[in-house]
């Protein structure tokens, strides 16, 4: 659906529904109009990372439903008071609204209470309302695969991690990396540098340089731009793509990427609204459901590491490999999770401590 067509359809639809309303047949007309879906993004669609991933899914929704949907998005919405205004605006003209960052949770909930007929889908939070669902991806499963690769391929045993903010989402990713790496190599260490931004290519690159200069030879990140990976490429160490396949920036360095694959979920939720079967829910999908996927492994990964990584991937999907299975010690060496048990989802979602081997 091209832009000009979209606008014309929209105007025609608006005019027609206005006409129909005066004739007292508004409901009939509304059923034929395209379903309107709005998206609020925290970054620019051109970030080539997190927001880019969501926008790829939005385009997939358009491609899947064609004329039956009409999508709009607002990018670069900061996680502050502005978010509520943007979400409210989206709610006034859409039937379904996706808000795609943790910081939009409270604004989304406030707006959802004001617009009971509009459906809301909020990513990576925990609040739900009768018209607000929560959805999240188990990114830490990808981190376990990455940690396994790092355990095999790092020579110094020091793994660099460019961090954004110490929220549970990020903390559990760091921990999953360290735990998986130490299963392979017990002396492995994850060194974290916080940039206190989701997105600032310059600063992310600086953090990566600081880590590499201090002996790190394997770079991972939980920020949204390709800068840390690109720095890894320039310095000749290994790296991992974040949220999207970033091979173009680091043809030699990128071993794989943790790719967020939102499209199937978005399509199913749009379909549910169309069918009238949409219900509020809270889902946390991972590799099994295909929401988290690994990009194709690079040829640079040695056979042994490749097999180990693929085994972890398969184990996570069939449930035999649990990234947070005990025994787990924290930074002080105290046993937090005894052998034979594992951290529950609830414990993961409020994780505020680091496992042994993390320097953060």
């Amino acid at each position: 659906m091209t832009l000009s067509l979209k606008r014309r359809d929209f105007l025609l639809g608006a005019a027609a529904s206005g006409l129909a309303l005066t004739q007292g047949a508004g409901r009939l007309r509304a059923a034929e109009a395209p379903l309107k879906v709005g998206f609020a993004y925290v970054g620019p669609v051109g970030d080539y990372g997190w927001t880019h991933g969501h926008d790829v899914a939005r385009k997939a929704v358009e491609a899947h439903f064609g004329d039956k949907v009409q999508t709009t998005y607002v990018e670069n919405v900061s996680e502050g008071p502005d978010a509520e205004r943007v979400i409210r605006q989206l709610a006034t003209r859409n039937d379904l609204v996706f808000t795609t960052t943790f910081g939009f949770m409270n604004p989304t909930a406030r707006v959802a209470k004001l617009f009971p007929k509009v459906k809301f889908e909020h990513a990576t939070g925990y609040m739900t309302l009768p018209n607000m669902s929560a959805y999240n991806a188990r990114f830490y499963e990808g981190r376990a695969v990455v940690g396994t690769l790092a355990g095999h391929m790092s020579k110094t045993g020091k793994i660099g991690y460019v961090g954004s903010f110490p929220i549970p989402e990020v903390v559990m990713g760091i921990n999953a990396t360290a735990l998986a790496a130490r299963r392979i190599r017990p002396d492995a260490e994850v060194r974290v540098v916080w940039v206190n931004e989701w997105y600032d290519p310059g600063k992310e690159a600086e953090a990566a340089k600081a880590l590499i200069d201090q002996g790190v030879d394997f770079m991972t990140q939980h920020t949204d731009s390709p800068a840390p990976l690109q720095t890894a490429e320039n310095r000749g160490i290994w790296g991992i793509g974040q949220a999207s396949d970033m091979r173009a920036y680091a043809p030699k360095a990128q071993l794989t990427a943790i790719v967020d694959h939102w499209a199937p979920y978005y399509i199913s939720r749009v379909q549910a609204v169309m069918d009238g079967t949409w219900q509020s829910q809270s889902v946390w999908y991972g590799m099994k459901e295909g929401m988290v996927q690994m990009a194709p492994f690079s040829d640079a990964v040695p056979v042994e590491a490749l097999e180990a990584a693929k085994a972890v991937e398969a184990g996570i999907i069939d449930g035999s490999y649990r990234p947070f299975a005990g025994p787990i010690k924290d930074q002080t060496g105290a046993l937090r999770v005894p052998e034979g048990s594992a951290l529950s989802d609830a414990e993961l979602l409020k994780m505020d401590w680091y496992v042994e081997g993390v320097q953060a």
Binding site: P44, A210, A227, Y249
Partner: protein, 309 residues
């Protein structure tokens, strides 16, 4: 911290300081002429995207740098038309320029997302570059690093020694007086604004072609605003701009290295605040203390000038 870490740390500081220095030295000239251009961030982004696009299209980084400079100048001249010819409010027009630059660069850059480009070549000097420590530290950088230092020196000389510098300062201190002496106030201001656009464009090009050789929307990450703060921090003196740029860059880098080394017991957020805290403290001290008279803000800064006949 041992030698092996110290050298790369200093190199990182140079990298972090260069875009700040480039943007700030141009803004200093603009402000010295009495014009407050808050559009630095927007001009940097246009420079970044045009530099990147031209480099990808032509394969020549030199043309990329020229395109970045031209893009910065074009935006600055637009600001000039609004504020100098049409007498629009400088603060409002500057903010509009930033917002415009963000949008324009995203539009132009949409097709360039996800494209890699070769970083700018380092200029090596025959013997000097091979010197231990000093060689890599001082003589192994790309053209824009050297250019930033040369421009700073040039601006300092121009403002202090040159006749042109005297005219520029006169226009910024008392536009009426300069006008009655027969100087073309608006023309001088146009030139100053254009120079600010040029260096902001170069600052953007440094980010997209050298520092993180890629195009990504909003990649300047607020450095334009820091450059603006730097000019006030430096009390409108080129030497202090140089010092401030390296100080701001240095603090930012140092805190990242400190974290990588295991932390120093201070939360990273506090460390990130330091450059801004330093700006506030220094401005307060300068404004309140016995250096009061030396704050040196150009007297006509931000005031429109309408030539009386």
């Amino acid at each position: 911290m041992d030698q092996q870490v110290l050298l790369p740390l200093l190199l990182s500081v140079i990298g972090a300081a260069t875009p700040l220095l480039l943007a700030a030295i141009g803004e200093l000239v603009t402000e010295k002429a009495g014009v407050l251009n808050l559009g630095v961030e927007g001009m940097m982004l246009s420079g970044a995207v045009l530099g990147f696009a031209a480099t990808v299209a032509t394969g020549s980084p030199a043309l990329g740098i020229l395109a970045a400079a031209a893009g910065g100048i074009a935006l600055a001249l637009g600001f000039g038309v609004l504020t100098l010819t049409l007498m629009a409010n400088q603060v409002a027009a500057g903010l509009a320029l930033t917002i415009f630059g963000i949008g324009l660069s995203a539009l132009v850059g949409a097709d360039f997302v996800g494209m890699p480009v070769e970083p700018l070549a380092k200029l090596d000097l025959p013997v000097l570059t091979e010197l231990p420590v000093v060689g890599p530290l001082l003589f192994h950088h790309d053209a824009l690093v050297y250019l930033s230092l040369l421009l700073t020196g040039g601006v300092a000389l121009f403002l202090r020694r040159g006749r042109g510098g005297l005219v520029l300062r006169a226009v910024g201190e008392s536009a009426e007086a300069a006008h009655s002496l027969g100087y073309h106030v608006v023309r001088v201001r146009y030139l100053a604004v254009a120079f600010g656009g040029l260096t902001s464009g170069l600052a953007g090009a440094y980010l997209s072609l050298s520092y993180t050789p890629m195009w990504a929307e909003g990649m300047t990450g607020g450095r334009g605003w820091i450059a603006l703060a730097l000019v006030a921090f430096a009390s409108w003196r080129p030497g202090r701009v140089l010092l401030g740029a390296y100080l701001f860059g240095g603090v930012g880098i140092l805190q990242l290295y400190a974290q990588g080394a295991g932390g120093i017991g201070v939360p990273s957020q506090v460390m990130s605040m330091l450059p801004y805290v330093a700006t506030i403290v220094i401005l307060t001290v300068i404004a309140a203390g016995r250096w009061r008279g030396r704050l040196d803000a150009p007297a006509c800064l931000g005031k429109p000038f309408r030539p009386s006949t």
